[in-house]
Amino acid sequence: MKLTFTAADEQFREEVADWLNDNLRDEFADIRYRGGPGDEHHFVDERKAWERRLAAGRWTCIGWPDTWGGRAASIEQQVIFHEEYARAGGPGRMGHIGDTLTGPTLLAFGSEEQKAKYLPPIRDGVAFWSQGYSEPGAGSDLAAIRTKAVQDETSGQWKITGQKVWTSLAHESDFVFVLARVDRESSRHHGLGFFLVALDQPGVTIRPITQLTGTAEFNEVYFDDAVCDADDIVGAPGDGWKVAMGLLGFERGVSTLGQQMLFQTELDEIIRIARANGASRDPDIRQRIAEAHIGLKTMRYNSMRMLSGGEDGSLSREAMIYKLYWSSWHRNLGKLAMDVLGPEAELIESGPYELNKLQSLFLFTRADTIYGGTNQIQRNLIAERALGMPKEPRGQGK
């Protein structure tokens, strides 16, 4: 057991920090610490420009192999990159989905043509992706997908019809990957296809969803005979579920330590306020601040165990608890922020409804325990996969 990084890794850390220090300034000074969860709709053009700057420094897609312009960075190096990126106040990554989801999926399941067509623009920070999984009727029950894809027998082109929802930043993206039913008679996870679809076309309509924060980073995406070329299905028709689930397996948690640095920034701010306004003398607040501090450290060492786990991509016990842990912790932090601020928490500082950071934190963290698998779904998964308890019975309807 060893908690320290090697000298070579520390040198890599220095390289990352130096580059960020030299580049995250001047025209990019304003976007430091911006564009994270709850703030993703801000500074979109500037953050796209930042992706191109990152690409010029070879700092996009660092986990990809050299052949596709990556650095083939080790897990440790990826962790270090995320830590230094967060430490420097690097903005929310517009290229996040292409870098960590689309790319690895195509590398594992895509054809050579698909790789050649789609990987370089992601790597160069010029093509932005969003994901199309959830539907109004397929949330926790993802396999209940109803969006259809029908292939034209002569041209081979696919036509997609249906609705996706909770698609982050679809209105600022160029492509979406869509899980759609190719076999009309199929049900559940059978008969699905995984499609790469351009968003800028007549068959696609994007409508933002205004959230309780008054902002809109999620969207509904409507497909009405949206066109997708015959070559733009990943894997065979019917393999969509396998491809989609493989994609979830690529998340080895390298970004978790970076995420925790943002959490630390939030906690530090709450501590600063508590010390200034006297809330730090309230015994209950003291306990909760200590609890938050301990929880964040717990997350760090849970992550380190997770990252030190097997390379086979199988989910370890500590990986299975990760989402449930951080989402609950973060939601509690939002409430703690409000309790530390007291009545001051109510006051809107500017605009008709321009929330400050902690107000956004409080409201938006209610989403944390819902998206990406609700806490209830997480508990089902832990009980079934880690503890071997029986599966939930399914309803009888189709």
């Binding site: 890794d9 440790e76 601040i289 200590a290 301990i294 030190s308 842990y325 880690a386 308890m389």
Partner: protein, 379 residues
């Protein structure tokens, strides 16, 4: 960075668990709790001769294994899982204190004596003021030094061949002495406890005369406080074992127990409780091994005392909560039989309760963290 067991550590874990699954069975634990010695002397002998757990933290030059805190945590976690009722904790805690003492012939003699299996207990204190309040004084008379007062909650104190005694001297600093429980003025009384797997004693001193060759350390305030932190880490290991076993036996039970024509493990209300228990156990385990690594780093001079103490506070708060939560939920998952004497979950529940307040309540641990975050000058 590799926050995972080495092959050797994994092997130690496997052999420890296998040994205790065989020797520290439910029947064996229950028999030990009511035996006159309050433990199975034969089991202690095989621990000392076959497993050599008492020697893990003892340096090699005094006949120990010279291993580290991760190895110690692995063994004590396994001990918690099986409710091991033995003087192991007392011996390991005494070792931790002695290793921190200045080098002396007496210190090495005591360490090598423990390596052969002799039991020693640390009489640290606990007065009303808390775990760092020392109730024994060392006063110099014209001819000798005498110890007076009492030390409570001394683990396996009644079984100790030697007692390591913390006493406050006339200049209000702490000192550490080795005392023979048979010597004049020393009275050791077993104190029956609700959790019978971790028996305690109160040691009283009535003008017990001690000589300078019994003095192990002077100016020992830091030594005692560091030993307290290390003892918390040892206790955390036990709690992680209790948290894990409470989860395991309860889940196994719910997979067998049927109501409404299905196993109760198939009910979401039960599954979600189990999932929360696993989250608690794994989180406490992460902080345990972080704290164990920190103890090793502190001994190697790589981190300071503050890091050691902070790690101990955090791990203790987390593991105390985890053990009690899991054992409590475990009783609920067992239903009616959970509150019977026959099922083991009640033994885990009691052990979780005992360790929760031993060396400080979780709220005290959190308050210590709060002081560090909220009081004093801003850095």
């Amino acid at each position: 960075m590799k926050f995972a067991f080495t092959d050797e550590q994994q092997m130690l874990r496997d052999t420890s668990q296998a040994f205790l699954a065989d020797k520290s069975t439910s029947a064996a634990v229950r028999a030990a709790c009511v035996s006159p010695e309050h433990h199975d002397a034969e089991l202690w002998q095989s621990i000392c001769e076959e497993m050599y757990w008492q020697g893990i933290l003892i340096p090699e030059h005094v006949d120990g294994l010279g291993l580290g805190w991760v190895e110690m945590a692995i063994v004590l976690e396994a001990a918690g899982e099986r409710l091991l009722t033995s003087p192991l904790f007392a011996v390991v805690q005494s070792t931790a204190a002695l290793v921190g003492c200045p080098a002396s012939e007496m210190r090495d003699l005591l360490l090598s004596s423990m390596a052969t299996g002799n039991v020693m207990s640390l009489a640290m204190g606990y007065q009303a003021g808390g775990w760092d309040s020392v109730g024994v004084t060392a006063n110099e008379t014209s001819t000798t030094t005498v110890l007076s007062g009492e030390a409570r909650f001394v683990p396996f104190g009644f079984a100790a061949a030697k007692l390591l005694v913390v006493a406050r001297d006339a200049s209000n600093t702490l000192t550490l002495w080795v005392v023979d429980p048979q010597q004049d003025g020393v009275f050791v009384e077993p104190t029956p406890t609700m959790d019978q797997t971790r028996p305690m004693a109160t040691v009283r001193f009535e003008r017990a005369a001690v000589s300078s060759d019994q003095l192990l350390a002077t100016q020992a305030d830091e030594l005692v406080s560091d030993t307290l932190a290390l003892s918390r880490i040892l206790t955390v290991a036990d709690q992680v074992g209790v948290a894990q076993a409470s989860l395991d036996i309860s889940v196994d039970f719910t997979k067998e127990r049927k109501q409404f024509d299905r196993t109760i493990a198939s009910f979401q209300a039960i599954k979600h409780k189990a999932a929360d228990m696993m989250l608690k156990a794994e989180s406490a385990r992460s902080l345990l091994y972080y704290a164990a690594c920190t103890a090793d780093a502190w001994l190697a001079g790589e981190v300071d005392r503050d890091a050691l103490h902070e790690a101990a506070y955090m791990a203790s708060a987390c593991a105390s909560d985890a053990a009690f939560f899991n054992a409590g939920c475990g009783i609920q998952m067992h239903g009616g039989v959970g509150i019977t004497e026959e099922y083991d979950i009640q033994l885990y529940f009691k052990r979780a309760r005992a360790t929760e307040s031993y060396l400080g309540r979780p709220s005290e641990m959190r308050e210590a963290i709060a002081c560090q975050l909220l009081d004093g000058d801003v850095a």
